[in-house]
């Protein structure tokens, strides 16, 4: 395990990179274009500003920024944006507004270079540079072990060490359970609070406390040192998303959201009481959400989402307990080849999504028999209201800092 401080701003990093690369390498050596400076400034999480300063004896007719994001992909995509050129300042710039795309996760590396066209029809490419989309608003510290790195800024080394140990054990457990280990390095960013985490993401539901950026090997979670018990569960949850993604990744589609979330919930351990209470109540009142609907992203309504998570856990629990973990492995493998939802379930279990819905609902209703709900209903009305309020506030407290994977 090594520890270091990662406090340099990306501005400095970018300038250093610019100073260390040679001037533009002309495609046509007879053309005189010289790069004075090329740099990128990150304003996390909103934008990256790219700037090129150059000298040229020829008329500049066009300047393009080319960039490529480092992430898992089935396709090599090079982006190209027309940069505005100011002849007076002899500079060009282009801004990647993250509101148009959703923000990259912290630490994502973007490789970029410029293409400069001149009036004579020649063009130049500058040397590729890299900029990291770092959240430099915080003074991050880092600990690493193997392929796993944790970045944090609140709490002491023991806090980070405990999280590291949890992550390490979780990955071993996931490897044992799912037969998969993470092939790529994983960077875990621990924001110091739920609020800090929310402020680091442009598009995130307000109850989400953790996000797994599966194509990037990045997890971002808001964990206050005082809330480390919840944080450890959340970290396992998000790591499980990375494993699930690796096992099912294919160029056609994603697995149903409930399956993805259910596996992560299951990896956390036993379902928490507040989650179970949602499930128990919905089962008793016949208010369960259909499995088909749960294949889509969950609701912005927190109560519906809590139930969605609980059902997701229960569905995975049902599949594993009633059909075995081997079948679950077969299911994930089938998805990795590219399959419709109905096709994958029919192939592995012999029933489609509606069939699963029917079987699971019968199972869960049997499991959470009406008796407990009846007991709740029999409580004096004041007590019922009080209990509901307590449960709701407890749930909100927990789940405001709780999970959602991208």
């Amino acid at each position: 395990m090594r520890v270091r401080v990662k406090g340099l701003t990306v501005i400095l990093v970018a300038f250093v990179l610019a100073l260390t690369v040679p001037s533009a390498m002309p495609a046509n050596a007879q053309v005189d274009v010289e790069t004075i400076a090329s740099y990128a400034v990150v304003e996390y999480p909103d934008r990256i500003n790219f700037t090129l300063e150059l000298e040229s004896r020829e008329q500049i007719t066009d300047i393009r920024l080319n960039y490529r994001v480092e992430r898992d992909s089935f396709v090599d995509v090079v982006c190209e944006s027309v940069a505005g050129y100011d002849a007076d300042t002899k500079s060009a710039s282009w801004t990647w507004d993250m509101y148009t795309t959703g923000n990259l996760p912290p630490g994502t590396v973007v490789e970029y270079w410029w293409k400069i066209s001149t009036g004579s029809g020649n063009y130049h490419f500058t040397q590729p540079q890299k900029v990291a989309f770092d959240d430099s608003r915080y003074q991050w510290q880092e600990i690493s072990e193997g392929n796993l790195s944790i970045y944090w800024y609140r709490g002491d080394l023991a806090f980070a060490g405990e999280l590291m140990e949890t992550a390490r054990v979780a990955l071993i457990q996931l490897e044992d359970d799912m037969g998969a280990y993470l092939a790529r390095p994983v960077n875990i960013y621990i924001y110091g609070s739920s609020e800090d985490h929310q402020g680091a993401m442009l598009y995130v539901q307000e109850w989400a406390g953790g996000l797994a950026f599966t194509g990037y090997g990045v997890v971002a979670i808001g964990i206050a040192p005082s809330n480390i018990d919840w944080g450890k569960r959340a970290m396992v949850h998000e790591l499980a998303h990375l494993v699930t993604h690796q096992m099912t990744n294919n160029p056609y589609n994603s697995i149903p959201v409930w399956l993805n979330e259910g596996i992560s919930m299951y990896a956390e351990g036993e379902m928490e009481e507040f989650s179970e209470s949602y499930l128990r109540r919905a089962a008793a009142n016949n208010d369960l959400i259909s499995v088909q609907s749960l294949a889509s992203p969950f609701s912005s309504d927190a109560d519906i989402t809590y139930l969605s998570y609980a059902q997701s856990y229960s569905l995975v629990e049902y599949l594993i307990s009633q059909h075995g973990s081997q079948k679950m492995g077969e299911l994930l493998y089938t998805f990795s080849l590219g399959s419709t939802y109905d096709g994958a379930f029919m192939n592995v279990f012999g029933f489609d999504i509606d069939g699963l819905d029917t079987a699971w609902q019968a199972w869960v209703k049997e499991k959470y028999s009406a008796s407990s709900a009846q007991r709740m209903a029999a409580l004096p009305s004041f007590m019922a209201v009080l209990l509901a309020v307590l449960m709701a506030s407890s749930a909100v407290k927990s789940c405001r800092k709780k999970r959602l994977a991208v």
């Binding site: 960039y67 490529r68 994001v69 992430r71 992909s73 089935f74 396709v75 090599d76 995509v77 090079v78 982006c79 190209e80 944006s81 027309v82 990647w96 507004d97 509101y99 148009t100 795309t101 959703g102 990259l104 993401m201 442009l202 598009y203 995130v204 539901q205 307000e206 989400a208 996000l211 160029p251 056609y252 589609n253 149903p256 259909s290 088909q292 609907s293 749960l294 294949a295 889509s296 992203p297 609701s299 912005s300 309504d301 590219g338 399959s339 419709t340 939802y341 959602l404 991208v406």
Partner: protein, 526 residues
């Protein structure tokens, strides 16, 4: 020309997870406010607009001589009636006398002549004018800069406009329903960036505010000559967050649905099911070939690339019911649609044989292949990703994707294209010419792939001159057969649009071409 945004832009926002930061529901007033999600238009100048995003705003602010009704029939708009000469060359439009620009100035026939001359002027830089006004006598001289006046257009009096064509065109009236032919206040339009700040249109709404990246607001125009809007205002919340979350939380009243949410909204047990409106829209998504340069100037290579894609699998797995597999070029809903076309058969071995028999002899001898698409940030539509993946799997060819800014993609793809391009086209009017001629005839400014076939061009020209529907359609059918036989493109999908509409919103009914007349929308008691 109504180019479609590669769906990834919308998908990113839908999938990136949610947010709702800056969007708050507008307060209710007498006629109510309709809250919609939107992204910034690329232009609000009718003479320039050629994309479906810009169009959705422009048709609320401007108007023209004619429009298409919900049955896609041409009906009068500013023109109350018209006559066509027996030879099909002269159209005489009689304008309504009660039409005013938003500043109160009455619209006269001369305003149309001036608007069209402005649209055709090289200084305006319209890419759409040659397509939509190019049948009018005298426009070529203006396009080329030889003249400033279109001699084929005359204002006979304040409310009578005569338009002469160079040749009869069965679809000419359809073209006049396109924004390029809308009337603008040409004095207003001489101001710099006028369409961003100070628009003087004739449509049912005025532009009250446009703050890029934040908000675009329309306000009812009370002196509109047609059905005056019930709504007081329409507020587009630009880039405001995840569409579905905005809808669920009541911050917008209508939401477009991508494949990610299809399970939820099509579930009869879902609360959203009754709010779902599904429309088959006449749009085509396809992979285009640059037929004018290597390696795709070799028809065998084009055929091999088409044959190496299992498009059934791509469409089924990626779109998940939100699109229909395309086997031809003309979409359902457009006369001439042929549902018996078999399309290219998936056969990777035969594809490799074709390359072996091509001028290249082997995959190893092919030059590097690059495909052009639009967007930001490197995320691409799922169908494109799956297609490129299959080329790698089935042909062993790595295709690099070059993703360019959307505005370059929309308006400069002819110059920007690489060897392949991913493209979408929504019908402007219900006529096969809008696909077969506009996208693939020699010399068409939107024939991005520069496909050229003399026999094809002759059939298209003959079909255009033929005013009788049946023989005209037969000619178009033969042309489509040639196009597919030459593998000028790889058809991917025809469009299906899914939207959710709140129950208190009535009249929000997209036309078969995807346009909503917001002046027909009402907000009932919530």
């Amino acid at each position: 020309m109504k180019k479609l945004l590669p769906v990834v832009l919308a998908v990113i926002i839908m999938a990136a997870g949610p947010s709702l930061a800056s969007c708050s529901c507008e307060e209710e007033t007498a006629g109510g406010t309709l809250n919609l999600y939107g992204i910034d238009p690329y232009t609000l100048d009718p003479a320039l607009s050629g994309d479906s995003i810009s169009h959705q705003y422009i048709v609320q602010i401007f108007s023209g001589l004619v429009k298409l009704n919900h049955d896609l029939e041409v009906v009068g708009d500013i023109a109350r009636e018209w006559e066509v000469s027996q030879d099909g060359l002269t159209y005489t439009f009689h304008l309504r006398p009660d039409v005013y620009f938003h500043d109160g100035r009455p619209v006269k026939a001369g305003d149309f002549k001036a608007s069209w001359e402005r649209a055709c002027s090289p200084a305006t830089g319209s890419q759409t004018a040659p397509l939509y006004l190019g049948d009018i006598a005298g426009t070529n001289e203006v396009f080329s800069g030889e003249g400033e006046k279109i001699y084929g257009v005359k204002a006979l009096d304040e409310h009578t406009l005569e338009v002469k064509l160079t040749e009869p065109r069965s679809y000419f009236l359809y073209k006049l329903a396109y924004p390029t032919a809308f009337v603008v206040d040409t004095e207003n339009a001489t101001r710099s960036n006028w369409w961003h700040a100070d628009i003087n249109g004739t449509g049912p709404f005025t532009l009250r505010e446009w703050s890029s990246g934040s908000r675009l607001e329309l306000e009812r125009f009370d002196d509109y000559y047609g059905q005056v809007a019930s709504l007081n205002r329409v507020v587009y919340h630009l880039w405001a967050g995840t569409v579905m979350d905005l809808y669920e939380t009541g911050q917008i009243d209508v939401a477009g649905i991508g494949e990610g949410y299809v399970d939820k909204v099509t579930d009869e047990r879902s609360e959203f099911y009754d709010e779902l409106v599904t429309t088959v829209v006449p749009s085509l998504t396809y992979i285009g070939f640059n037929c004018n340069s290597a390696p795709f100037n070799d028809p065998a290579v084009r055929a091999a690339f088409a044959m190496a894609i299992d498009m059934n699998r791509v469409v089924e797995l990626v779109y998940r019911g939100t699109a229909i597999i395309a086997r031809g070029v003309i979409p359902p809903g457009i006369p001439g649609y042929n549902d018996t076309i078999q399309g290219t058969i998936f056969d990777p071995d035969a594809a490799l044989d074709l390359i072996a028999g091509s001028s290249y002899g082997s995959v190893d001898n092919l030059p590097p292949v690059t495909l052009t698409t639009g967007g930001y940030g490197g995320l691409i539509p799922g169908d494109l990703q799956a297609t490129v993946y299959q080329w790698k799997e089935n042909l062993g060819i790595d295709v690099t994707v070059r993703q360019i800014d959307p505005n370059e993609y929309y308006y400069n793809l002819m110059a920007e294209k690489d060897d392949l391009f991913y493209y979408g086209w929504m019908a402007d009017y219900p006529h096969p010419q809008n696909f077969l001629e506009v996208l693939f005839s020699s010399g068409s400014p939107t024939n991005v792939g520069e496909y050229s076939n003399i026999q094809y061009d002759a059939l298209i020209a003959a079909a255009a001159r033929e005013l009788e529907p049946e023989p005209s359609m037969e000619l178009y059918a033969r042309a489509e057969e040639i196009l597919l036989g030459d593998t000028a493109l790889v058809p991917v999908s025809f469009g299906v649009e899914m939207i959710l509409v709140k129950p208190y919103v009535t009249g929000y009914e997209p036309s078969p071409l995807g346009i909503v007349a917001l002046n027909e929308v009402r907000i009932e008691d919530r």
